[in-house]
């Protein structure tokens, strides 16, 4: 079958027609039924990543297409001021699309072109740290040209540099970070929630929710057992799984993004939650609280990366550098309410509050609260309560996924 791998594997750039014909000619020897099946099938994935990054073009193309998550950039009456500012300053026509709702779903839709080295249509994507690691493992991300990212080197907070999931930031730089903990309506619950197990109190049965994302739910369950995810063994995960299965009857469901509307409507009194969301929801319901449970909460980082085969890599670098300008990063953070990778943002927001800066509309009337929020700007103490994800290899990931599937699918 090795020649069949040659037919589809090992492609980086789109192949020329002649090359394709040559490979097809080689493949035609196998035109039996099995070969036909194989030819249609999923090809071998792994590609060898070069040591040097793909060279960038001399001139920007004037086009940029970016995929991001909902509510992740500042917003004005007619679109994002940041996007508009970038377009004006660099003469780039930028399409910013909100199409990522789930790391795995998004990965599913771009995997096939990536494995063939074809353009996915996106120049910049934003995915969570463990997905960066997975895509890197598969060689799906372009190496970044740090000489084009001077703002990153100058302004990035120390703790976002050289992260566990991407040593040396070779393939990614952070967009924003946050914490997975528990959100609850203090009036509906009637008390404060302090531990993960508090979700399973009998009087809350049917009014609590967990995440459908394996990494977060296992992470919190492990933490409640006193185990940090990076140290967890398969036996630990099995124990966490048993605990979750035992309590499953009290859980309304396993949620994705839609836990927010269930909380706002009052269907959920308490649920696993992401820090910035609860800040946003609390605008309308001041009874909502966010807490990092006693054993610890998960710390995640969403990162910008350039998928292989991207058509406008230089323009992508220009934008990635642009958002590391402290002024721009501040504007974004004031709307997004998640932690910025730029160190100077907290001070800048305090300054803006004093100056009554025009961008304060994004956070008004809570700009003061935002500037001092310990989840948006974690203190040493907050950081000590958070746990990174474990770096899983493919086999481990498979085992964890199988265990989790038994939890969510009855």
């Amino acid at each position: 079958m090795s020649d069949m791998d040659g037919l589809f594997g090992g492609l980086h750039r789109p192949v020329s027609r002649r090359e394709l014909l040559r490979r097809a000619g080689r493949g035609s020897m196998y035109l039996g039924a099995m070969a036909l099946l194989a030819a249609c099938g999923v090809e071998a994935q792994r590609r060898q990543q070069g040591d040097r990054p793909e060279p960038l073009p001399d001139q920007p193309a004037g086009e940029l297409v970016m995929a991001n998550w909902p509510l992740y950039i500042d917003k004005g009456p007619t679109g994002s001021p940041t996007v508009k500012g970038f377009e004006e300053e660099f003469g780039v026509n930028m399409r910013y699309e909100v199409v990522i709702n789930d790391n795995e779903e998004f990965f599913g839709t771009i995997r096939e072109p990536l494995s063939a080295g074809q353009s996915t249509g996106w120049d910049i994507i934003v995915v969570t740290d463990w997905m960066i690691q997975k895509m890197n493992r598969l060689g799906y991300l372009e190496r970044l040209h740090h000489e084009e990212l001077s703002n990153f080197d100058a302004n990035a907070a120390e703790k976002v540099q050289d992260p566990w999931y991407d040593p040396g930031n070779e393939h990614s730089i952070p967009w924003a970070a946050g914490i997975t903990g528990i959100g609850y309506d203090v009036e509906a619950v009637g008390r404060d929630i302090v531990r993960f197990e508090d979700l399973f109190a009998d009087d809350l049965a049917g009014r609590v929710g967990l995440f459908a994302e394996m990494r977060d739910t296992f992470g919190l369950a492990l933490a409640s057992m006193g185990i940090q995810e990076p140290d967890a063994t398969v036996e630990d995960v099995e124990q966490a799984q048993q605990m979750l299965i035992a309590e499953r009857g009290k859980v309304r469901g396993f949620y994705g993004n839609d836990y927010t509307d269930a909380m706002a409507r009052g269907d959920l009194a308490a649920a696993m939650a992401w820090s910035g969301d609860i800040f946003a929801l609390a605008l309308d319901n001041p009874n909502l609280r966010f807490v990092i449970p006693e054993g610890g909460g998960m710390r995640w980082t969403d990162n910008m990366a350039i998928p292989v085969g991207a058509e406008h890599p230089l323009d992508a670098h220009l934008f990635m550098n642009f958002v590391y300008d402290p002024r721009i990063a501040t504007n974004i953070t004031k709307w997004v309410w998640y932690e910025s990778p730029v160190a100077a943002v907290q001070e800048q927001i305090r300054q803006d509050v004093a100056d009554k800066h025009e961008t304060n509309v994004s956070c008004a009337p809570f700009c003061d609260d935002l500037a001092e929020d310990t989840f948006v700007f974690p203190t040493e103490e907050t950081n000590a309560q958070t746990i990174p994800y474990k770096q899983l290899d493919e086999e481990e990931e498979q085992v964890w996924n199988d265990l989790f599937q038994q939890v969510v699918q009855g």
Binding site: C40, A44, L138, G206, R207, V251, R252, D261, E394
Partner: protein, 275 residues
């Protein structure tokens, strides 16, 4: 002449359905992982494996599909009947109205349903206030919410073919039947209903087949206890990246459905229906 009529559509389906499906068949017989790559090993065992592992979800899906089909048939038949025989010049307009809610995205429909059915929402909240329901009562996350969603979303798939079949009936024939049997119910059972069987057949298949494989309704309205096979396939594909299992499971589902269609066609009994 028949082949000429079949040709354009046939070529389309050949290129964009049959070819990808053969590739899927190939995927189902491969082994490997994302990093190692996938090799065609002819691993037939995967079929028995997925069948054994997911029998609960498969049975549940078929059951939900059957309930949905029967419920939509009962709701849609009088609807289609009224539009066909009493609609007059509003026939087409009414037909259009039935399908209009489906021109706005399912996400909008689902979110609005959740608003209507929320624990403290306009329906349940009011009933709880009056004391008809207990405080802990809820609909979202239960069987009934998933079935409700399925029935709502597949109603037009049943109503439209029923209407199409009923509308073509010769009205004078039905009037004659009324005279002949004197009893309206008997007339309906002996004449109208048998004549509408092509619509019943088409409508129930357009409902049952996609409903069995549905994943949106259980995903948004259900809980672990309501997991359907469509969700398992989704999960195998997206989260586990186990493409061979996802493909094998799809073929198991397709085979089960196809057998069902065959039996159903024989049951309704006429060669005309399946050819």
């Amino acid at each position: 002449m028949a082949y000429l009529l079949l040709l354009p559509g046939g070529i389309w389906l050949l290129l964009f359905y049959v070819v990808p499906t053969i590739s899927m068949l190939s995927v189902s017989l491969q082994e490997g992982s994302l990093e190692q790559g996938y090799r065609l090993t002819g691993n037939i065992g995967v079929y028995a494996e997925v069948l054994a592992r997911n029998d609960t979800q498969i049975i549940r899906s078929i059951l939900y599909g059957l309930i949905t089909t029967v419920a939509t048939l009962l709701i849609a038949y009088p609807l289609a009947y009224t539009i066909a025989f009493r609609g007059g010049r509003f026939k087409n307009a009414l037909l259009f109205l039935i399908i209009m809610p489906f021109f706005v995205s399912f996400i909008i429909r689902t979110i609005q349903w959740k608003f209507v059915l929320a624990d403290e929402g306009i329906v349940l909240g009011t009933l709880k206030e009056v004391g008809i329901l207990g405080q802990g009562f809820h609909v979202l996350g239960e069987n009934v919410a998933v079935l409700g969603g399925l029935i709502y979303n597949f109603l037009p798939f049943m109503a439209l073919p029923l209407y199409v079949a009923l509308e073509k009936m010769d009205k004078s024939l039905l009037d004659a039947a009324d005279d002949l049997y004197s009893n309206r119910v008997v007339a309906f059972l002996r004449v109208t209903f048998p004549l509408s069987l092509p619509g019943v057949f088409a409508g129930s298949l357009l409902t049952f087949i996609p409903a069995v494989g549905d994943f949106i309704n259980p995903e948004f309205l259900g809980s672990p206890e309501t997991t359907m096979i469509g969700q398992v396939i989704q999960l195998e594909y997206l989260q586990n990246n186990d493409y061979p299992e996802a493909a094998a499971l799809s073929f198991v589902l397709m085979a089960a459905i196809l057998m069902g269609v065959f039996v159903y066609a024989r049951l309704l009994g006429t060669e005309e229906l399946t050819g």
